[in-house]
């Protein structure tokens, strides 16, 4: 359902706190103070979310994730976020920075403009704490498209694939399931989590569906298309392009989804 406003328990209250840091001890450059406004939510407290303000020296900080770690280290150890690889391969630190989803570890401070840096969790998701959202639904949708090889052949060694066929998977297999794309999509906001069966799978799951539809070794194309041929699962994509705009790996879910739609037309001929 389209709900333009937030539920009562999710509205941001005005009780945000302010923290001011000092010049970085590890920096030999002139201090460069920068303000971060960070979404804070602790469901256990029973209070509504708030936005806290942190001012830190970023003269020796290159990525937004480094700034978050500095805030947690020096100002407020309760700031909660996921992070792991710090080089854009694990997808853990996906969040909304200055109004667009991205990975905090690959988002440079020099890409954040000159004003305050606003950091929120991935949009329209249940918040576990602060910047950590519950992605159970997102993973279920990925599982639903059966993201594994289903072949009738049982070769003695590996499944053989030509170079040309392998190249069809470029731009598809690189997805790290960070959820930036799906949670950027208004269609996914309104139809991504529904119990009545009329649910949109979202750009990430559909990109992976297309990845297996394009795989020359897979023999279940028809079954895969049958599952996707649905008003909601596939056709809630209206080519809004938020997914492709935000993908931190530079992939193109909008194009992949259009590819699935064309496969539907071609098989109906």
């Amino acid at each position: 359902m389209v709900e333009l406003t937030l539920p009562r328990n999710s509205k941001i209250n005005s009780k945000g706190k302010s923290y001011k840091g000092e010049k970085s001890a590890s920096s030999d450059k002139a201090p460069e103070m920068r303000t971060f406004k960070i979404y804070r939510s602790d469901p256990d407290s029973g209070e509504n979310p708030r936005v806290d303000t942190y001012e830190i020296d970023v003269s020796d900080v290159s990525m937004v994730l480094d700034a978050l770690i500095r805030i947690k280290d020096t100002l407020d150890p309760t700031v909660t976020f996921r992070r792991s690889c710090r080089e854009g391969v694990c997808g853990s630190c996906a969040m909304n920075i200055n109004g667009a989803n991205t990975l905090a570890c690959t988002k440079g401070m020099d890409e954040c403009g000159s004003g305050d840096v606003a950091i929120y969790p991935l949009p329209h998701q249940p918040v576990v704490k602060d910047l950590v959202t519950d992605l159970s639904k997102f993973y279920e949708q990925h599982a639903a498209i059966e993201p594994f090889l289903q072949s009738d052949d049982e070769p003695e060694k590996e499944h053989i694939q030509s170079h040309e066929d392998r190249e069809k998977l470029d731009g598809l297999y690189e997805c790290i399931l960070c959820a930036c794309c799906s949670t950027s999509c208004p269609s996914y906001w309104w139809n991504g989590d529904k119990d009545d069966g009329n649910e949109y799978l979202g750009p990430a799951a559909l990109l992976q569906a297309y990845r297996w539809l394009q795989d020359s070794r897979d023999d279940e194309k028809s079954k895969r298309l049958d599952y996707l041929d649905d008003n909601f699962r596939l056709y809630r994509c209206h080519t809004i392009f938020n997914c492709t705009s935000v993908c931190p790996k530079g992939l193109n879910p909008a194009e992949a989804i259009a590819g699935i739609k064309r496969m539907m037309v071609e098989r109906a001929k």
Binding site: L6, N96, Y120, H124, V128, T133, P186, F241, S245
Partner: protein, 132 residues
């Protein structure tokens, strides 16, 4: 964990999203699509009035050519051109082209600019040639 939704907050979405031209074109495509229903009703009323008689036609014509009526007609014209041009954009996508980020943004700006230009062109022609 949708069963916990009573206590678990929902993260902000529209409230924090930074708008892009492609997002604008998508929602405006739908809005102009709905606006054209209203516009078609206006056209039907005008035709029905013309079929009814001179008095009825003059009444409707008077309302449509009032300053407020002209603003509505101007908006209807723009909605028509926007929906037409963005529809062509969707058609090109359906054929499998124009999916790069520069292409999608460029075509979005072209639709915005083109629809405004065509609207101005049509109404310039109306005022210059019509001279009612």
């Amino acid at each position: 964990m949708s069963d916990q939704s009573a206590s678990t907050p929902l993260s902000p979405h529209l409230q924090i999203w930074r708008w892009t031209v492609t997002l604008f074109c998508s929602i405006t495509h739908r809005a102009t699509g709905m606006a054209m229903y209203a516009g078609t009703i206006l056209l039907t009323i005008w035709l029905a009035a013309a079929a009814t008689g001179e008095a009825a036609f003059n009444t409707v014509q008077g309302i449509y050519t009032s300053p407020f009526g002209l603003i509505v007609l101007f908006g209807y014209t723009w909605a028509l051109f926007f929906h037409l041009l963005n529809g062509i954009r969707h058609f090109v996508w359906d054929a499998g082209y124009g999916f790069s980020i520069p292409a999608s943004r460029g075509s979005a700006w072209a639709v915005v600019g083109g629809s405004l230009a065509l609207t101005v062109a049509v109404w310039s022609a109306v005022f210059m040639l019509g001279g009612n």
